[in-house]
Symmetry: C2
Subunit: 330 residues, 2 copies
Amino acid sequence: MTEQRHGVTKMKTRLPGRTGVLEAAAKIAAILPPTPLLPLELDGVTIWCKAECLQPVGAFKIRGAWHRLSALDLRERMAGVVAFSSGNHAQGIAWAARKLGIHAAIVMPSDAPKPKLDATRALGAEVILYDRRQEGREKIAESLARERGSVLVPSFDDSWVIEGQGSTAIEIAVQMQAQAGIAPGQLVIPCGGGGLASGCALALPGIPIAAVEPEGWTDMGESLVLGRVVPVQDNPVFTSCDALQTKQVSPMTFDILRGAGAMGVAVRESEVEAAMRLAFDRLRVVVEPGGAVGLAALLARKVEAAAGTAVILSGGNVDRSAFAKVIAGG
Amino acid sequence: MTEQRHGVTKMKTRLPGRTGVLEAAAKIAAILPPTPLLPLELDGVTIWCKAECLQPVGAFKIRGAWHRLSALDLRERMAGVVAFSSGNHAQGIAWAARKLGIHAAIVMPSDAPKPKLDATRALGAEVILYDRRQEGREKIAESLARERGSVLVPSFDDSWVIEGQGSTAIEIAVQMQAQAGIAPGQLVIPCGGGGLASGCALALPGIPIAAVEPEGWTDMGESLVLGRVVPVQDNPVFTSCDALQTKQVSPMTFDILRGAGAMGVAVRESEVEAAMRLAFDRLRVVVEPGGAVGLAALLARKVEAAAGTAVILSGGNVDRSAFAKVIAGG
C-alpha cells in the first residue's frame, strides 16, 4: 500500500471515492455512536443540525483520523504518525492514535491556546512546538516523518481523511430518513481546507452543497468561481474562526467540490456570533465560531433553508471567555 | 379509564410501574431519537452523561408529557389539558399537546423568565398568568381544569409522568450496552419533585440511585432520612436551580425512591457552577444549574464515580447572561 519517496512514507496515489466513504462510515459506526441530528425551526422550515461538536474531541476531525490510522498496516503503526495542527485535527489524531496504540507526534505552534495543547497532550500525543513566526509547520512535520519513517497525516489533503469526514453525510442521510422520512435536499458545510465538504460531496452525489467560509478567508469560494485553486489574499481580515484559517485549499478537495457544483458562501463575524447564540438558545450546544458558519449562512439567508436542508455544526472547541462574550452580546 | 371527582377529570388510581416505563420508552423511541450518552473521564474513570438538555424543549420533561398526553382518550383530548409550571414542564406539555393536536392551558407565574413564556406560547399553548405572591398556581389550575372538564397534568405527582421520565434510564441502559458493553452500575439524578429519579428507579430496579438536590432544597434527601415526606424549610437559601425549587415531594415519588433505597445528596452553588463549566469544556453542551447538580455531586466527590456510573444532565434552559457569568467565572 505504501512507497518510500524522498525518505518519507507516503501512500500511493489513491483517489477518494464514495466506496471509501461508505467503508469509513461503517468503521466509524463500529466505534462511535452517531452525533445527534437536531431539528431546528427557522421561519417555519425545519432544518437539521448535525452536532459534530458533540464528538469526543469536540469536532468531526475524529472521523478522518480514525479512517486513516485504522488503515495503516502493522509496520506503519509501529513507526507512528506525524501531523501538524493547531487545533481540532491534532485532537482527532491523538484520540485515534491512543485508541489504536499508535505513537502520534503533533507539530503545534508554541502560541496555540493552552487548552488545545493540554487536551492533545492529555490524549497521550507527543506535542512538538514550533515558532509560528519563524518556521513552517509543514516542513517540520515532513522532516520529522522522514526521520522516523512515520506516515504524515495532513488535515485535509488526504484521501483517507476526506473519506472519513464524508461519513458525516452518510449519518445525516440515515438519521434524516429515520427521524423525518425524508432524504437530504441540501448540505451546508463549514469549509477550511475543504476536507469535510468534499467528503460529504462524495458521500451524497447530486445533493447541492454550500461550502461556507468566513469573510476574508474565502479561498474555496473564489477558487470555485475562477475554476482554479487560488490562495487567500495577503493580510486577510481578522476572523474568530480559527479552525477555518486555511490559506489555500488542496487540488483534491477543490476538484471534488468543483465536480459537485458546490457553491461558496461567505459570512461575517456578526453573523457567526448570531448563529452561536441561536445554537445556545435553541439547541443547547456549544459551537465554536468556525463550526457555526453554516448555520450563520442559513440564519442570514445567504443560503435558503428548505425541507431536507442539513447543516453541520462542525466543532465546539472555544475558549470559555470568548464564548461568554459572544452569548452575552447581541 | 377516568372518573369525575369533584368535577375534575382525574385518572383512577394507577400505580406507576416498570411495565409502564417500558411502554413509555417504546412510545418515546417512536417519536424522538435517543439523546446522546456522552462518555466523560473523571480521574481516570469513565462516567456516562445522558444529555437530556438536548431534547427538543431542552429537558427530559418532554417524556412524561408525551406518555401522559398520548394515553388520553378521544373525549379527553377534545377537552384539552391543564398544567402549571414556570419552566420545563410547561414546554414539555406544550410540545406534546401540539404534536397531538390537543389544546394545552399552562398556568405560569407572571414573573417567569420571558424566554420561557415566549417558548411556551411559541409551541401553541395558552398561557395563563398568575401573581406568584397572591395566588396558588395549583388552585388556579385545578379550578380551570374543573371548569373545562380538562385533565390536569402535574409535573411529577402523576403515574404516567413518572413512567415517562423513567424512559430516560431505559435508554441509558441500551446505550451503555451498545457503547461500552456494560450495564449501568449507578444512576446520579437531579431531583426536584422526584419524577425523574423515581421513574428511573422503576426502570432499573436494584441499581443504586443518588437523588441530588441543591443545598437548602433537600426535602427529598431529608424525607428519605426521616422515612416520611417533609417539606423544604421556610425561607430556604437562594439557589440558581430554578427547576429544582420544589417545596415538597409527593408521596408517590417518595415511596418509590425510599423503596429503591435511594440516597439524597446536596450540592452547593459553587459545585453546580463547576459542573456547568466542565460540561461546557469537555462535552460542549449547555446545562442549566438544576440540570447540572448530578454532575456536580460526582465532580465534588459527594458521589463516587465508578464504572457504569450514569449521570443525567436533565435540562439546558438557562438565560444567556446567567450562563455567560458562570462560564466566565471559576
